[in-house]
C-alpha cells in the first residue's frame, strides 16, 4: 500500500522536497535566531566582557621556558615556603609559572586589583591550570607560552590544582598563589603559614 504519509523506515515515493508546515518553519526560524544569539555572545564578550581566553600566545621550548622561570625567580624572589621560592613581582610585571610533573613552580605573591601577565607553560607533558577555589581553568601545553593578562579581584591564599592527567602522581600536583590587599615589603617572607 502506498501512502504519502510514511515512517522513517519507508522510502518516500517521488519528489520529497515539499514545503513544510507553518509550525515546523516557525520552530526552525526560532532555533536559527537562538543560534545567532549563541554565536553573537562570544564576539560581544571579547568586546565588552572581562574574561576571555585570548592571551599573548607564543612558541617556546621547555628548556627556554625553564630558563626564563629561573630568571624570573632570581629577579623577584622574596622568601621560601617549604623549600619552594616565593616570588613577589611588581605590578604590571610578566609572571612566569612552570608546570612540571608534579609541581607548580614557583609560589606567586600578587596584589589585588593589579594587572599582571601570567605566563603558563609546561616543562614536560600537558598539565591543567585550575585556580582553586575560584575555578579558573587553562590548558598548559609544553612548547607553548600562554600569556594571560589577569587582574585578581579577590585577595586570599589560593591553590593551583592540576586538572589534566599528567602521570600517576597527578593528584598530588598543587601550587600556591597568594593575593594581598596592599603591597607588601619585599623583605617579608612569602609564607603565611
Amino acid at each position: 500500500m502506498h501512502t504519502d504519509t510514511h515512517t522513517g523506515l519507508d522510502s518516500p515515493k517521488g519528489i520529497w522536497w515539499k514545503p513544510a508546515h507553518k509550525s515546523e518553519r516557525t520552530w526552525v526560524g526560532i532555533a536559527f535566531a537562538w543560534c545567532m544569539v549563541l554565536f553573537a555572545m562570544m564576539p560581544l564578550w571579547h568586546w565588552k566582557g572581562g574574561q576571555n581566553p585570548s592571551g599573548i600566545r607564543s612558541r617556546t621550548t621547555p628548556a627556554a621556558y625553564g630558563a626564563r622561570v629561573g630568571e624570573f625567580i632570581k629577579q623577584y624572589q622574596t622568601g621560601t615556603d617549604r623549600g619552594w621560592p616565593v616570588v613577589t613581582p611588581p605590578p604590571g610585571a610578566d609572571v612566569y609559572l612552570a608546570a612540571v610533573s608534579f609541581n607548580w613552580y614557583p609560589i606567586l605573591r600578587l596584589q589585588k586589583d593589579v594587572q599582571y601577565t601570567l605566563h603558563l607553560s609546561s616543562l614536560d607533558v600537558n598539565h591543567g591550570f585550575s585556580l582553586y577555589p575560584i575555578n579558573v581553568n587553562f590548558q598548559v601545553v609544553p612548547g607553548y607560552d600562554y600569556g594571560l593578562r589577569v587582574s585578581p579581584n579577590t585577595s586570599g591564599d589560593f591553590r593551583i590544582i592540576c586538572n589534566e592527567f599528567c602521570g600517576i602522581g597527578h593528584h598530588n600536583m598543587v601550587g600556591r598563589v597568594i593575593v594581598d590587599d596592599a603591597p607588601v615589603a619585599a623583605a617579608v617572607s612569602g609564607g603565611t603559614r
Binding site: M1, S23, M42, G50, Q51, V125, Y132, P133, R159
Partner: protein, 590 residues
C-alpha cells in the same frame, strides 16, 4: 509504481537464495548480513560489559568515603573505561547499525562478505591489543593519550587496526547502498533512517581519517622515528575524539526515527527539513574538535569562535530541528492512529511498557535537556574557562553518549533481538524496567557530576582530598555529599547496564526461539511494537490532511510538541545566561 511491483522485484533479484523473509515485518533479510550484524552486536555488548565493570570501580573510587582503587589502578581503569565504552562498545554497535541499515532496511544483500569479515577481524584484533596494553599497565595514558605521555607502541597500533577495520566496514556500507540501488531492492529514495545512517557513515569517514592522521604519526613517534607537536596532537586527536561522538549523534537520531516508527508509528513530518538537518551535521559537526581547545595556547580567538560554534551553530540548529521533528513525528503518528484528545493524551497513552519506546523517550529527553544544553553552554569560548577539565565535562558527555546514544542503542537492541536474532527478549520484566533504571541512574549521575564540577572539582583525579599534596586543598564539604550522589547514580545506571548485558546475552545465546507472533496478543519477551504493530489506516493520508487543515496556525498538527520545545528553549536560555553571569564574577582575564 506501487509497492507490489517492488515486491516482485525482490523475488526476481533473488530474495530466495541466501535470504529469509521476516515473519513480523515482511522484509527480506540477507542471511550473510545478518550473521555480520550479530557478531558486531555481540562484540559491542561484551565491550559494554568490560566498560561497565570499569565504571563501577571508578565511581567507587571517586566516592571519597569508599575510595576503592589505588592511584595507578584508578587511572588504568579510567583508560579502560574510556576505550571500551567510547570506542569499542559504540563503534562495534554503529557498524552493526550500518550493516543493518544498508541491507535489512533496503531488502538488500551485503555486497562484500569476505571484506566485511576481514574488517571485523581487524577491529577485534585491534580492540584486544588495546585492552591487553592497558590492563598490563603499558598504556597508562588514559583515553586521550596526549603526547608526550608515552604508551607502548602496540597500544597505538591496536587503535590503528581498529580504526582501519571500521573504515573498511564503512566502505562496505557505501558499496551496499550502490548495489541495492542497482539491483532495485527498493523504490524511490532511501528511507530517512538509512539517510541518517548514511550521515553517520560520512562523518565516520571524516573521523577515522583524523584518527589515521594522528595515530600513525604517534605510533612512529613512540618508536622514536619522528616528533609530534603536543598542540597539533590535541587538535587532530579531537578531530577523532569529538567527531566520533558525532557519528553517535547521527546514528542515534536515525535510531530515534526508527524506534518511533516501530513502537508508535511515528511519521516523517517533512522529508526536506529532516534530511537538510542531517546535511547540516555533515557540513559542520566535525568542527567540534575546537570544544576541547578553547583554553589552549595554540589557537587564537577567531579560530576558537568559528570552530567551537560549528560555524555559527549550524550543527546545533540541526539538533534543535531533530529535537522538534522526532517528537512531533511521534505525536502525529499517535494522533493519526486516533489518540487525538487534548495536548498530551498521545504521550500519556503511549506504550510506556515497551522498552523500545521508553528508551527512545529517555534518550531524546536526557540528550536534549541535559547533554545538549550543557554541551552548547560549556562549548562557548569564554564559559569554558569555568568548565575545562572539571567534572562538568564528563557530566555533559555522559548525558549525550550514555543517556543519549547508549540508551537509544539499548532500545534498538530490544527490537534487534526478535527481528535479527529471532529470539524472545529474556528476563522480560527486567527489560521493561531497564530503561527506567538506566536513564534514572544516568540522570542523577550527570546532574550531580555537573554540580560537583561547578565547584571546580577536577575530572580524572584520584584524590580530591589531596592527602599527599604539599599544600592543602579543602573543597566545600558539600562536594563529598555530591560525589556520593554521583556514585549512587552511577551504581544505579551500572545496574541498568548489567541488566541489559544479562538480557542481551541470555536472549542471544540461551534464548527461547521467537516462534510465531500472533498480532494483537501481548507476549512476554516480544515488544509491543511487534505484537501490536502501529500500522496506519488505509485512509491515513486523508486523516493527515484533516489534522493539518484543523490546525493551520503555528501550533500545527502537533501542538503538544510545540509546548515541549518551548519549555526546552526556556531552559536553554536560562542555563546559558546563568553561566555568563557566573563567569562575570571572576578575576579579569584576557
Amino acid at each position: 509504481m506501487t509497492a507490489a511491483v517492488g515486491d516482485s522485484e525482490f523475488a526476481r533479484a533473488g530474495a530466495g537464495a541466501g535470504f529469509r523473509t521476516c515473519p513480523a515485518t515482511g522484509r527480506h533479510i540477507h542471511l550473510g548480513a545478518e550473521r555480520l550484524i550479530k557478531v558486531h552486536a555481540v562484540a559491542s555488548v561484551v565491550s559494554l560489559l568490560v566498560g561497565a565493570i570499569a565504571a563501577v570501580l571508578l565511581v567507587l573510587t571517586r566516592w571519597q568515603a569508599v575510595h576503592l582503587l589505588p592511584a595507578d589502578w584508578f587511572y588504568r581503569i579510567l583508560g579502560v573505561h574510556g576505550m571500551s565504552m567510547l570506542i569499542f562498545f559504540i563503534i562495534f554497535f554503529e557498524m552493526a547499525v550500518l550493516l543493518f541499515a544498508s541491507t535489512v532496511l533496503l531488502n538488500a544483500r551485503n555486497s562484500a562478505p569476505k571484506t566485511s569479515w576481514a574488517a571485523f577481524g581487524l577491529m577485534l584484533a585491534g580492540a584486544l591489543m588495546v585492552e591487553a596494553m592497558m590492563w598490563s599497565g603499558r598504556a597508562d595514558v588514559l583515553f586521550t593519550s596526549y603526547v608526550p605521555l608515552r604508551a607502548d607502541p602496540n597500544f597505538y597500533l591496536g587503535v590503528i587496526f581498529f580504526a582501519v577495520g571500521a573504515l573498511v566496514t564503512v566502505g562496505v556500507f557505501f558499496a551496499n547502498l550502490v548495489v541495492a540501488k542497482r539491483e532495485r531492492t527498493y523504490e524511490g529514495s532511501v528511507p530517512l533512517v538509512v539517510y541518517g545512517a548514511l550521515t553517520a557513515a560520512i562523518i565516520a569517514v571524516i573521523t577515522l581519517v583524523h584518527g589515521a592522521a594522528i595515530y600513525i604519526p604517534t605510533y612512529l613517534w613512540s618508536l622514536g622515528l619522528m616528533e609530534v607537536d603536543p598542540q597539533i596532537y590535541r587538535m587532530i586527536w579531537w578531530g577523532l575524539g569529538h567527531s566520533s561522538q558525532q557519528i553517535n549523534v547521527a546514528a542515534m537520531v536515525a535510531i530515534w526515527y526508527m524506534l518511533g516508527a516501530l513502537t508508535i508509528g511515528s511519521v516523517v513530518l517533512n522529508e526536506k527539513i529532516s534530511r537538510s538537518a542531517f546535511v547540516l551535521y555533515i557540513l559542520f559537526i566535525s568542527m567540534a574538535s575546537a570544544h576541547h581547545l578553547l583554553v589552549d595556547p595554540g589557537m587564537g580567538p577567531a579560530w576558537k569562535v568559528v570552530n567551537t560554534s560549528y560555524f555559527m551553530y549550524m550543527a546545533v540548529l540541526a539538533s534543535m530541528i531533530h529535537g522538534f521533528t522526532v517528537p512531533a513525528g511521534m505525536e502525529l503518528g499517535m494522533r493519526l492512529r486516533g489518540f487525538t484528545n487534548g495536548m498530551f493524551d498521545w504521550l500519556r497513552r503511549a506504550p510506556w511498557g515497551d522498552p523500545g519506546f521508553s528508551s527512545l523517550v529517555f534518550s531524546l529527553v536526557v540528550f536534549g535537556f541535559v547533554g545538549g544544553i550543557t554541551g552548547v553552554t560549556i562549548g562557548t569560548e569564554q564559559i569554558n574557562i569555568i568548565v575545562h577539565n572539571t567534572l562538568r565535562v564528563p557530566g555533559h558527555f555522559h548525558a549525550t553518549v550514555v543517556s543519549g546514544t547508549a540508551m537509544a542503542f539499548m532500545g534498538a537492541t530490544y527490537y534487534l533481538i526478535p527481528l535479527i536474532f529471532q529470539k524472545k527478549v529474556a528476563f522480560w520484566k527486567g527489560a521493561v524496567i531497564q530503561p527506567y533504571l538506566f536513564a534514572g541512574g544516568m540522570l542523577v549521575f550527570t546532574l550531580s557530576m555537573t554540580f560537583a564540577g561547578s565547584f571546580g572539582v577536577p575530572r580524572r583525579h584520584w584524590d580530591i582530598t589531596f592527602s599527599g599534596a604539599q599544600f592543602d586543598v579543602q573543597f566545600n564539604p558539600i562536594v563529598d555529599l555530591i560525589l556520593a550522589v554521583v556514585a549512587l547514580g552511577g551504581l544505579t545506571a551500572a545496574t541498568g547496564a548489567f541488566l541489559f548485558v544479562a538480557i542481551a546475552v541470555k536472549s542471544v545465546f540461551f534464548g527461547e526461539p521467537l516462534g510465531a507472533i500472533v498480532k494483537g496478543t501481548a507476549m512476554a519477551g516480544v515488544p509491543r511494537g511487534l505484537t501490536h504493530p502501529p500500522v496506519h489506516a488505509p485512509d491515513v493520508d486523508a486523516r493527515n490532511a484533516a489534522l493539518h487543515r484543523a490546525a493551520p496556525g503555528v501550533m500545527g498538527p502537533a501542538p503538544g510538541t510545540i509546548v515541549l520545545v518551548f519549555v526546552f528553549l526556556a531552559a536553554f536560555i536560562v542555563y546559558f545566561f546563568v553561566n555568563w553571569k557566573i563567569l562575570s564574577f571572576l578575576w579579569r582575564i584576557g
